[in-house]
Subunit: 308 residues, 2 copies
């Protein structure tokens, strides 16, 4: 492995901060992380927080450029960056990195987020996922692809020949979290690992595929439980299946059955989507979310380095 660092890659989200010392080829030499996500930093302390976590590297390599992705570019972050409108080619994102004054003459950039108008006419936004997309799209710069990035706010992204055409966000993860902790369904729900609860997860996916609507299906968690059919320990899996099922149904409704979906995320997140897609006989590929952030940052660095 090449152990000469080429840049510092920073994935700075709402809850966590991850810093990577990365080689020219995108290999991680060293890495460090903390719970100092932007929600846990106050305005004016972002530079200090980064120095605290990555100070050794910053001191050792005074010229090492820094690339930052994620909510660090939001209003609550270090510096608010404008969303770049879609359609946009991934190379055009590289040319619009937002420079930040930080550590003397060190080159430091924030990757801007993206905006679009979804096919139903409403606006949509992403911040952070664009960097993973750059990494993923760079692997296959021609043809049409459909990417799914599961999460609190899951993104479905349409790409053609390296151009991000449009995308749509689904509040799946957030609604799952809210319904587990508030309201009628939360009362009997047990917080049990979902690993062995696949039967009820898939029943949820199956029902979501019928047209009777999410608002009705949610009440079914209660009525199946009242009837004694759905035991409390399976309710969480069933709810997860219902919500992911509804997301897939809406996102895939006009997509031919043989079009593959590329999932990008952490294993814990993508596993349920894999099971649901497989149940619906949808082809899919899975890419590591962390790997894609690093590949994306490496692409952005290579592009910036070419310009210098």
């Amino acid at each position: 492995m090449n152990t000469i660092p080429a840049f510092l890659g920073v994935d700075w989200g709402t809850s966590n901060l991850r810093v990577y010392l990365v080689s020219q080829r995108g290999q991680v030499i060293e890495q460090t992380q903390s719970a100092k996500g932007i929600l846990h930093c106050s305005q004016g302390t972002f530079g200090d927080t980064l120095t605290q976590l990555a100070g050794t590297w910053l001191t050792r390599w005074p010229q090492l450029p820094v690339y930052m992705a994620g909510m660090i570019g939001s209003k609550q972050g270090w510096r608010e960056t404008s969303y770049l409108p879609c359609p946009i080619h991934i190379d055009d994102i590289a040319s619009q990195l937002v420079p930040l004054s930080f550590d003397g003459t060190r080159k430091c950039w924030i990757v801007p987020g993206l905006s679009c108008t979804t096919p139903d006419g409403t606006p949509d936004v992403m911040r952070g996922e664009e960097t993973q997309l750059i990494g993923a799209i760079h692997r296959q710069r021609t043809g049409s692809q459909l990417y799914c990035l599961p999460g609190t706010h899951a993104k479905w992204v349409h790409v053609k020949d390296g151009v991000i055409q449009h995308f749509a966000t689904y509040m799946t993860g957030e609604l799952f979290d809210i319904l587990q902790h508030h309201g009628l369904l939360s009362v009997w729900m047990q917080d049990i690992p979902q690993e062995d609860q696949q039967e009820w997860f898939l029943k949820g996916v199956e029902l979501a595929n019928k047209q009777t609507g999410l608002l009705h299906h949610l009440f079914g968690v209660r009525s199946l439980s009242l009837e004694g059919t759905l035991p409390p320990k399976h309710q969480r899996s069933y709810l997860s299946g219902l919500l992911i099922g509804h997301e897939l149904r809406a996102a895939l409704q006009h997509i031919p059955q043989d079009t593959p979906v590329t999932l990008i995320g952490a294993t814990s997140l993508t596993k349920q989507y894999e099971r649901a897609c497989s149940h619906l006989q949808r082809q899919l590929h899975v890419l590591s979310g962390e790997r894609m952030v690093l590949d994306g940052l490496a692409q952005l660095h290579a592009s910036a380095a070419r310009k210098v």
Copy 2:
């Protein structure tokens, strides 16, 4: 007005207790209410609570029968009554009232709730709405009707020739309440009366009619707001329109455009549904929820009196 009381009608729900002194023809002679819903009564105190609120009438008319509808028949209520399975004729509900031992030899009954299997194969239940339905269906005992009872858990009910065929519950009101107070959407939402916010309410109804799915539409509340298009004071109305729109879309999907919907509820609840139906060019009639409870109880009394 006939001022000779025929029975005491009790509408005992989760949050409230309403007692009516009612004539043979279902006219209210006097009425009283308290916040002593079943959630605010402990086991063993239901009799005392009723005596406290309606003691004067109970003492004055020791033989007056009492009919109780609502959550009072649930596990958390005075006595748990089994759900009667649908399809069921409204006259068959009258013959299956559950007697309760209360005040010496006084006749006292709880109206049982109903259960069914919805067309998507899941079970469903109601408790309280069946009494309003008895009142409404009695007005038109032949032909096919579609009833909507808006609320925390809205019910859509299919009826043919006096027989309640099946019904489906939508968690519309509950989800509206939860999303106003928890999670991303609650952060900027302002609690402003919705009376003058019809424009955004109807935009929500309109969008819900498109096929991109509720999980995506919910995120639109945030992205429209980020973009500056949707001001904070209109977010609540827009969310309400989205949710009611999704309920209507699912409930009406196989119902011909010229089939009228009969709404049963309080004016504050039915008004938004009226606006949404009217926007979707759906015909509807509105019946007062309180009137239907009393009509239903009067029907049950007439039927019980015939048997004695």
